[in-house]
């Protein structure tokens, strides 16, 4: 079982490597990979596709700035975030707004594993942790 998972993981990595063009995930290549998996009888297809999905989603999350906000956020702010993040990471980062009233006020930006916290909820949590 463990070795099956390992083989599936390795195969998914190969498929993922083929899906990246110029440092970004190519939609065409992804489609091609899915067709390949469907056409050829790949061993443990569910395991392979799950691992592939995980790798692609990690890669995609690195080029998206998920902006959680409480209250209104202007298009200019989103554009400023896009510009700042693209400059910081050296790749094109698209901003995507998502309202989250639990933040109370302010915003929280996710780019891949990095989280930029500028919300009241985050500050309260930091305060609670320090007490």
């Amino acid at each position: 079982m463990a070795s099956h998972a390992k083989v599936a993981q390795q195969f998914a990595r190969q498929l993922f490597a083929m899906s990246v063009v110029d440092g970004a995930v190519s939609a065409d290549r992804v489609e091609g990979v899915l067709q390949f998996v469907e056409k050829h009888k790949v061993a443990n297809p569910v395991m392979v596709l799950k691992a592939y999905h995980r790798l692609v989603s990690i890669k995609l999350s690195k080029s998206v700035a998920l902006v959680e906000h409480s209250g209104a956020v202007s298009a200019a702010t989103l554009a400023a975030i896009e510009a700042a993040m693209s400059k910081k990471y050296g790749r094109t980062v698209k901003a995507k707004a998502e309202p989250n009233p639990e933040l109370l006020a302010g915003m929280r930006v996710h780019v891949g594993d990095d989280v930029y916290e500028s919300s009241i909820a985050g500050q309260l949590a930091a305060l609670a942790a320090s007490v």
Binding site: I58, V109, D113, D114, V115, Y116, E117
Partner: protein, 508 residues
């Protein structure tokens, strides 16, 4: 004026709205105190990571797309998908004199119910050992209070001396005796007001032991008045393997504080066999490749980097390490024993047979050695016990040979008689370390043949009588031996006269 205020307000607004960056990940799996985490792309090796609910972890496996962490603390509340954040810090423990007399866990948190520890400083748990330049050779003695050890296998400050033997052979007792002896010496030294006196503080690290054993050790130290000079770091058998793995490093960090601040410290690792087992468990769960006896490949480095932290530093203090290794059926050639033997500066081997014969401490003279300690031995001990090791080794050989025949020449018989007497003299009860000056007096009496006419069965009584005689009636002479630390003609004459006096009173 208003523009100035606006400027300040803008500055405040800028500062208060500054975003805090953190690197996060999510738990993929959590089992047996180890979590596999997705994300944490910025995490560093050995970095502390924060789990929800206050638990912390240490990143030990940095893989292509996941991070393996050992969790310190309660894992029962953690679940798949929980967010984990990096802290950018290495694990640190509180250090300083405030820890003396206290029992702490692997993270330096008190577990003795005596309230919080008022410690101002922290030291990282993992630290690179001092290099060559800053070290100084071992030249100051560290008295264990055990006659067999101080006379034949002397230990110096900054040395690493392994104590090895099967279960139930008195390994822990030797270390507790040593700690008690340091406390006794400290009390005498501090009371004397000698400015050059350097007390030795002790750290006892209990790894994978039963809680009852740890309590017994604490009680023994408390009863002997040694706890006030001792820090206990406890990671008992019920603790998770991560804590057991970390405890010796935490103890080393506590000891390093004393060393770095110009003081001398002694650290006991009880025991490193269980430490290796805890590390093996962690490594297997982290799916690291296993080698001999299923230990991971870096099990040598596990102990070498720990024991290398014991040193004597030039212009500063020292840290002496007494690691303990438990063998199975006396097999010193097993994997972990050979590793630690090769790292340390000598070993004290305890034999089950000797222990069962009533020879306690059951030190095997042939297999025990101190590679650097003789440079630290005081001259007085060398003068009275320099040939002891050879004589005793010869006796063991002859004794084995003599079993086959009864016709022995006079010389062999004399050697056997003398050997048996030395063995009897070296018998010492637990938790009763002897001051070095008293050891010198007893060995002097033995060397001058005062025990020769006494029946072997009565040697223990005679020895006790001699010790009693010296402590009650010849205290100034003992103090002279202690301060001079060498026997000149005058002192030898005084010791001889005292022994004669004892002999007449004893035979009478």
């Amino acid at each position: 004026m208003s523009t100035v205020l606006e400027q300040i307000e803008q500055q405040i607004a800028k500062l208060s709205s500054k975003a805090v960056k953190k690197n996060t990940g999510n738990i993929r799996t959590v089992a047996d105190g180890v979590a596999k985490i997705d994300g944490l792309s910025d995490v560093m090796y050995n970095e502390m990571v924060q789990f929800p609910g206050g638990a912390i972890g240490i990143a030990l496996n940095l893989e292509e797309d996941e991070v393996g962490c050992v969790i310190l603390g309660d894992v029962s509340q953690l679940k798949e998908g929980d967010e984990v954040t990096t802290t950018g810090r290495l694990l640190s423990v509180p250090v300083g004199k405030a820890l003396l007399g206290r029992t702490v866990d692997a993270l330096g948190q008190p577990v003795d119910g005596k309230g919080p520890i008022d410690s101002k400083e922290t030291y990282p748990v993992e630290k690179i050992a001092p290099g060559i330049i800053v070290r100084k050779s071992v030249s100051q003695p560290l008295f264990t209070g055990i006659m067999a050890i101080d006379s034949m296998i002397p230990i110096g400050r900054g040395q690493r001396e392994l104590i090895i033997g099967d279960r139930g052979t008195g390994k822990t007792t030797i270390t507790i005796d040593t700690i008690i002896n340091q406390a006794k010496i400290n009390k005498v030294g501090l009371a004397s007001g000698d400015k050059n006196f350097r007390p030795v503080y002790s750290i006892y690290v209990a790894i994978g032991q039963k809680n009852s054993n740890v309590v017994r050790t604490i009680s023994a130290l408390e009863a002997a008045g040694a706890l006030e000079f001792t820090v206990i770091v406890a990671a008992p058998a019920g603790d998770n393997p991560a804590n057991q793995y970390l405890a010796p490093y935490s103890g080393a960090a506590i000891g390093e504080w004393f060393m770095e601040n110009g003081m001398d410290a002694l650290i006991v690792y009880d025991d490193l066999s269980k430490h290796a087992v805890a590390y093996r468990q962690i490594s297997l769960i982290l799916k690291r490749p296993s080698g001999r006896e299923a230990y991971p490949g870096d099990v040598f480095y596990l102990h070498s980097r720990l024991l290398e932290r014991a040193a004597r530093l030039d212009g500063k203090g020292s840290l002496t390490a007494l690691p303990i290794i438990e063998t199975l059926a006396g097999d010193v050639s097993a994997y972990i024993p050979t590793n630690v033997i090769s790292i340390t500066d000598g070993q004290i081997f305890l034999e089950t047979d000797l222990f069962n014969q009533g020879i306690r401490p059951a030190v095997s003279v042939g297999l025990s050695v101190s590679r650097v300690g003789s440079a630290a031995q005081i001259k007085a001990t060398k003068q009275v016990g320099g040939k002891l090791k050879g004589e005793l080794a010869q006796f063991r050989e002859l004794a084995a040979f003599a079993q086959f025949g009864s016709d022995l020449d006079a010389k062999t018989k004399a050697q056997l008689d003398r050997g048996s007497r030395i063995v009897e003299l070296f018998k010492q009860p637990a938790f009763a370390p002897l001051p070095i000056e008293l050891q010198v007096a007893v060995l002097f009496a033995m060397q001058k043949g005062f025990f020769d006419p006494i029946d072997i069965k009565k040697i223990a009584n005679a020895s006790a009588s001699l010790k009693n005689f010296f402590t009650t009636r010849k205290d100034p002479l003992l103090a002279e031996v202690r301060t001079k630390a060498a026997l000149d003609k005058d002192l030898e004459a005084k010791l001889l006269a005292a022994c004669e006096e004892w002999k007449s009173s004893y035979s009478a």
